[in-house]
Symmetry: C2
Subunit: 295 residues, 2 copies
């Protein structure tokens, strides 16, 4: 049974732009406002990770403060710790996100600690968020493979997902960080996680590095999952660039859902124009096939 | 039930190269030999359409004659009429292909006659092929949409497919020529056609113009269809070029099938190298995400 509605969680302004050449704060604000205008109501608007790690996100506070808010839209930011959480809250986010990994090696190389240590570090943030009634989203990376370990046991994905959910995350976003997944495995992974976290609390965050993201999403939609992360114009990695992260273009998934009669509330033409505008600012090809075909 | 095996019908050297800048006959021969070496055993090697229409294919006879044949590989060519059929046979093809459309407007604009007239014209070719025991493949274009008419009635797709099959075509390749299809519609189309043509005589020829091809294939595999047309390196249309035809990259579908445990007999690394080599000859970006990720 396919869902009647799917909620799109737009990550282009964060997961996308953090992997592109830096753009002005104004360009980010414009992008975020254009996305809201296209009908997207969940937007990751920035990151409060150290600017030493991710200089592209150094102005997240300024960006979030400058957005002309649209009613009904939730603006979010990635926050690695209590300090980041407080900065994000000060900037005016509606919710935040934390990130764990399903791979020990990836956790060590990416954030320099074990999975357990990374979760331990989120406890003060989670407590503060709870006391202030701020929703926290949890990312789990490497759910279909790790650049260092290769295959990842789905039981480990379920274990980490359940820890984050039980800590209080309202939704768990399952990330195929390197885009290596294929449909049967993707579906089996979601089914396994759904035994420990309610399926309506799961989201799919699939990268398109190997061109598999839409097929993987299709395979997973029948499990009941109905939240999809995507990045307008495929921001975050041109598929023709070496080492691209290969974010899935929001336009392409919205086109598929439209064609399947699944409601998203998004105006595809406006969305494609939003992606076209930021692609021009970046001086890069638009990573959405739908946008290239439509515009 | 997914198939255990899928047969790949490689169209890069024809449907691909006919939409690219011209390359030398030697480069075509090398491509075709590389594809066979990678384990592809069904290769469309040229077209005997008038060189006035498709100058890129003017040397098909020379190309096919020059190939060092690999045992077990079938070399095919597109033939619009008896004259083309005889030229193809003289060049040494193992089989030929004819093409019809599921859209009257497309038929008129593309080959300047109605669907019925186009089929009428194939009768002498079909009779000759039958007398010589040469297999004929039938293409049906616009099965999921037409650039002039928009939506196409699946009953019309089934009707044209059945005519070609009943005329003697051993397989019907269902072409989403402009790549507009989405999974639910694609599956319904195949199911409808399969009521008139046995499903094991159907092939999927889906373009990736809107990024939907793999998802559409996934949706159709469960109907029992197990032949897929694809174009190495996505030859025939860089997804970032205006008006690109957007052929599906063979590497990307083989990667998906491998990941799903479906056998193709193809060496993905060799295939990716074949696509890389022809992309370099063309001086264009490789249209396969898998190839870009692997190489």
């Amino acid at each position: 049974m396919l869902p009647n509605k799917v909620s799109i969680f737009e990550v282009g302004a964060r997961d996308g732009l953090q992997n592109e050449v830096p753009v002005s704060s104004n360009a980010k604000v414009q992008l975020i406002e254009n996305l809201a205008d296209a009908g997207i109501n969940r937007i990751e608007a920035g990151s409060f990770v150290s600017p030493k790690w991710v200089p592209q996100m150094a102005d997240s506070s300024e960006v979030i403060k400058s957005i002309t808010r649209k009613q009904g839209v939730k603006y979010s930011a990635l926050t690695p710790n209590l300090k980041g959480f407080e900065l994000a809250l000060d900037a005016g986010v509606d919710e935040v996100a934390i990130f764990g990994a399903a791979s020990q090696s990836f956790s060590q190389k990416n954030i320099n600690c074990s999975i357990e240590e990374s979760i331990e570090r989120f406890i003060p943030l989670m407590e503060k968020a709870k006391s202030l009634n701020i929703p926290v989203r949890g990312y789990v990376s490497c759910v279909l493979g790790c650049p260092y370990e290769g295959d990842i046991d789905v039981a480990e994905v379920a274990r980490v997902s359940a820890i984050l959910y039980n800590m209080g995350c309202y939704e768990i976003s399952l990330g195929d960080t390197i885009g290596v997944g294929t449909p049967v495995k993707a579906r089996r992974m979601v089914e396994t996680v759904a035994k420990q976290v309610p399926v309506d609390k799961l989201a799919l965050h699939f990268h398109d590095t190997y061109g598999q993201a839409l097929a993987n999403i299709l395979a997973c939609l029948e499990t009941g999952v109905s939240v999809i992360d995507a990045s307008v114009a495929g921001l975050g990695g041109c598929p023709y660039a070496k080492g691209a992260s290969g974010n899935l273009a929001t336009e392409d998934v919205v086109y598929m859902l439209n064609g399947m009669g699944i409601e998203t509330g998004i105006d595809l033409t406006k969305l494609a124009k939003a992606g076209h505008a930021i692609s021009q600012v970046l001086g890069r090809a638009n990573g959405s096939k739908v946008a290239n075909a439509l515009l």
